[in-house]
């Protein structure tokens, strides 16, 4: 089986019921792979999109820039995510899709996706569920951005990324790759770069996480989750899927 669709199957299998027919339909999807470099815009705000973008490697984010030049990153996406799935119904982009790290994406045409969805009501429901989980993640981020302090926001972000990357099998023991700039982290947390750096240093000093050469290692999961007030229920992972809750061997 082609690795490209593999991460998508893992993600969808973890967040809902993926039956054999729907699996085959997804595997049959035609795609075009594209490499993007760090900072490169994949889909620009205002443009009209005719395909969806499945992340295969690296990280991409959704963001918008104010006239003042200030940027907010709304969400960060990894292998198995289709961050612009909504473009199937909202083709005119109201934000940008940008590579946060060197990435590879698979472009799947709207026509091809519509074609497989026309053949399966269960697959349509599953992708709808995925989009709703996307919206749930926005609510979780909004709560942190509006109400929590920077250390809690950063801890919450690391917890979320840890759980999501574990879900699709990207974690190596208790660490995951995060080769993104501190500016990007600051723009996700809605704070200054200096304050984000300072906050990260604090988390390291408290020995909750390590952040070296683009890898985050979770040293003390429970304390990190407590600081970030992290409750993974908004990610709506199916019961029994590894990645959820206590399956964090190697971390205390």
């Amino acid at each position: 089986m082609d690795k490209t669709i593999d991460f998508l199957l893992r993600r969808l299998g973890a967040i809902g019921k993926l039956n054999a027919e729907d699996r085959d339909l997804l595997v049959s999807l035609p795609f075009r792979r594209r490499r993007v470099s760090k900072g490169e815009e994949i889909v620009a705000e205002g443009s009209t999109s005719s395909s969806c973008c499945l992340v295969v490697t690296g990280y991409v984010h959704r963001s918008k820039v104010l006239v003042t030049g200030n940027r907010q990153i709304f969400s960060l996406h990894m292998a198995g995510d289709i961050p612009d799935l909504h473009s199937l119904h909202l083709p005119k982009m109201d934000h940008s899709l940008v590579a946060t790290a060197p990435a590879e994406v698979a472009l799947i045409s709207h026509a091809a996706i519509q074609n497989v969805l026309d053949q399966s009501a269960t697959l349509t429901a599953l992708l709808w569920r995925d989009t709703l989980i996307d919206a749930a993640a926005f609510r979780a981020w909004m709560l942190m951005l509006g109400q929590a302090e920077a250390p809690a926001r950063m801890a919450h972000l690391f917890c979320e990324l840890y759980v999501r990357s574990r879900l699709v099998g990207l974690n190596r023991e208790n660490s995951f790759a995060l080769p993104i700039s501190q500016i990007a982290i600051a723009d996700m947390l809605g704070t200054s770069t200096v304050h984000a750096n300072r906050t990260l240093q604090d988390l390291r000093l408290q020995k909750l996480v390590d952040f070296e050469r683009g890898r985050v290692t979770v040293l003390r999961w429970r304390e990190l989750a407590e600081l970030g007030m992290f409750d993974s229920s908004y990610l709506h992972i199916m019961a029994g899927v590894v990645a959820d809750q206590a399956s964090r061997e190697g971390t205390r």
């Binding site: 704070t191 200096v194 304050h195 750096n197 300072r198 240093q201």
Partner: protein
């Protein structure tokens, strides 16, 4: 891009910035400093007690470009309006 270092003092605890941040110019460094001091204040002020935050921004030659400071002082002793007015003037 130029590299700036942001040394921050929170009450008596001083943290010197050894990594620095690359920014376009002095104006960008100033915005970064103001946003940083405001964020630190927003997080530290809800905790009790007086607070002094100072930030000094150095350029790549380790020369201070500017400095900014925020002070928070809380007094819950009962006093008349007149006394409160005098106290306000004293602070200003």
């Amino acid at each position: 891009m130029r590299r700036f270092y942001f040394d921050i003092a929170l009450n008596n605890e001083i943290k010197e910035d050894t990594e620095g941040v690359d920014l376009l110019d002095d104006g960008a460094a100033r915005r970064e400093a103001v946003l940083t001091i405001a964020s630190i204040a927003a997080e530290a002020i809800p905790q009790d007690g007086p607070l002094n935050i100072a930030i000094s921004v150095l350029d790549e030659r380790e020369v201070q470009v500017f400095r900014a400071r925020v002070t928070f002082d809380f007094d819950d002793s009962k006093k008349t309006r007149q006394a409160a007015r005098l106290q306000r003037h004293k602070v200003e």
